[in-house]
């Protein structure tokens, strides 16, 4: 029932303003994330205070000198939060990027080979991995792989978490990439490219990947929030990055008994976690609209 014939130019304008708003959302999120990242990497060396330095009376409330106050050992919570953030951000970035690339690749392969044994095997493994509760799977894997294992600059616990993320997280990307590949494969321009005689690899590179990557990248942004959340949860389950290295989760975990008298020790790092989450979520919301999906 076409009650109103929508004017095509007004529709185009609506889409244009929608895209503009989406770019702005993305930019705000990216800006916030950049600020947090810069603070994490620059503040600890610039301030000259180390995460273990005793800077004053224990349990000082937040002040200009110590924006997040001090903990029960008289350490500067802001410095600890920023220093800890480096680890969370690096582990999250690696733990999302590697599975993103690997999973997208497997998903495209699976989608191109849809219906074959290879496709079925990959997809059933994906189903199985996705059946495990993420937090519990990462916990179990990181414990089995070795919570005491340290590697290069990564402190004990972090490499195990990374490996755990590598062997599990690719599954979602594979599922998304396969779905996108299946739908794009049918479209005219891909069929046309194949008929024209372009090599399979050229078709994948020029036509499939540019369409599949925005979808997996958009998911990757919400995955960052999930991964940071899980890394920070692990101390509560008795695992995670081992002390004395500070990390958002462990700082919050250590401060939980002080919540009554010095809530800032836990809550200030918590706020940074939430701010990071909001930043990445905003990027995700913008990216979802820009990549042509629905806002949900």
């Amino acid at each position: 029932m076409a009650v109103v014939e929508v004017n095509p130019t007004s529709t185009a304008r609506a889409i244009g303003s929608r895209r503009r708003r989406a770019s702005r959302t993305f930019a705000i999120g990216a800006g916030l994330l950049l600020v947090i990242t810069l603070a994490c990497f620059l503040w600890p060396p610039l301030s000259g205070v180390s995460t273990t330095d005793f800077v004053g009376t224990p349990l000082q409330a937040p002040s200009v000198q110590h924006p997040f106050g001090t903990d029960n050992f008289g350490r500067d919570v802001f410095v600890r939060t920023m220093a800890g953030g480096r680890l969370d951000l690096v582990v999250a970035a690696l733990g999302v990027t590697v599975p993103l690339i690997f999973g997208t690749f497997l998903g495209v392969v699976s989608g191109l080979a849809a219906g074959t044994v290879l496709d079925r095997v990959i997809m059933r493994i994906v189903d199985a991995i996705l059946a495990f509760p993420f937090a519990i799977l990462i916990l179990a894997l990181s414990v089995v792989i070795g919570p005491d294992w340290n590697l290069w600059v990564l402190p004990a616990g972090a490499p195990a978490i990374l490996v755990a993320l590598f062997v599990t997280s690719w599954s979602v990307y594979a599922r998304i990439a396969r779905g996108e590949t299946l739908s794009i494969r049918q479209r005219d321009f891909v069929v046309a490219a194949q008929v024209t005689g372009l090599s399979r690899w050229t078709v994948v590179r020029r036509h499939l990947l540019p369409n599949v990557l925005p979808a997996t990248f958009t998911y990757a942004l919400s995955d960052v929030v999930l991964v940071i959340g899980v890394i920070a949860s692990l101390p509560f389950l008795g695992a995670g990055v081992q002390p004395p290295t500070p990390e958002w989760g462990s700082i919050i975990y250590d401060g939980r008994s002080l919540l009554g008298q010095a809530p800032w020790v836990s809550l200030c790092p918590g706020l940074v976690v939430v701010a990071t989450g909001i930043a990445v979520r905003l990027m995700g919301q913008g990216s979802r609209i820009l990549s042509g999906g629905e806002d949900a």
């Binding site: 029932m1 076409a2 009650v3 109103v4 014939e5 004017n7």
Partner: protein, 347 residues
Amino acid sequence: MTSHLMESENSRMAQAEGKSERGRLLEVKDLNVTAGPLELVTSVDFQLRRGERLGLVGETGSGKSLTCRAVMGALERKGLSATGSVTFDGVDMARMAPAAKRKLLGREIGFVPQSSLNSLNPVMRVGRQLAEAVEHLGCPRRDVDARVRELLAAVELRDVERVLRAYPHQLSGGMRQRVMIALGIAGRPQLLVADEPTTALDVTVQRRLLTLLVELCDAEGMALLLVTHDLGVVQEVCDSVLVMYAGQAMESGPVKEVFARPSHPYTRALLAARPSSASAAGAGARLLGLPGRPPAPGTWDVGCRFAPRCELRVDACTAGSIDLRAEDDGHLLRCVHASGEGRSRHA
């Protein structure tokens, strides 16, 4: 079917005239519909007496659906606004409180939307949706089932048990439309507004439903405001007709009069485009399709909006705005030409 319609014609007209002294049922005056700065319907007037049947005809985008929604006060939801007055049974509907208007809808004014799967709640059984309507109208709980069955019988739905238990998608298009009609007449309204009620259906089903609609109107003494793009339907069903083009009334009057002496070039083009008249004129007279499309809202000229597609266009057509003027008794026309002029070229 036609013969049957003819039979009922005389008695019904007498009935309608008998009621007419009690005043008009619906009066629409200077109705304008706008979407922001965009004008969609310009100054439409018409009246409807009790028991009268009016057909609103035009191509897609002519504003006929909007006009009928304005009558029902259902424009705001779509971000549109209407000015002018819609008077129902002596009351200005624009001045009515929402609650009072809701009392009118369903009880005094029934609505039958275009036949489509989307007009019924897809996850609610048909029986429940009918019961809901009946309950809403204040039917006592123990009589609900009987009244629902009565309604289904009135719209000649057989296989009642299956229909009641079915979900909308499990029924055929024709059956769904019968259900829509049953919902529309549930409150025994004085006016039934039907927006292209048979458009999506095949021709035989269309005919049967139109007959049904006419019979129901007669039986309940309902007036009918029928929106359609098919002049043939209007000729069979309605007493009067209003031809719309690009948001304006182009020609209106009693069906007999307008169909006997179609005066606007657009009306004549519509009549010529009817499949029935084409076949009547013989195989040689192919559909006299109009070249071009109706202009989009916002691109309307000052003068005659049909001028760009009109074969009889003269300079006067685009010189300035053209008013509706009375041709004969009740026959209105918006054209610079006199009613007789140039008819031979189309007919």
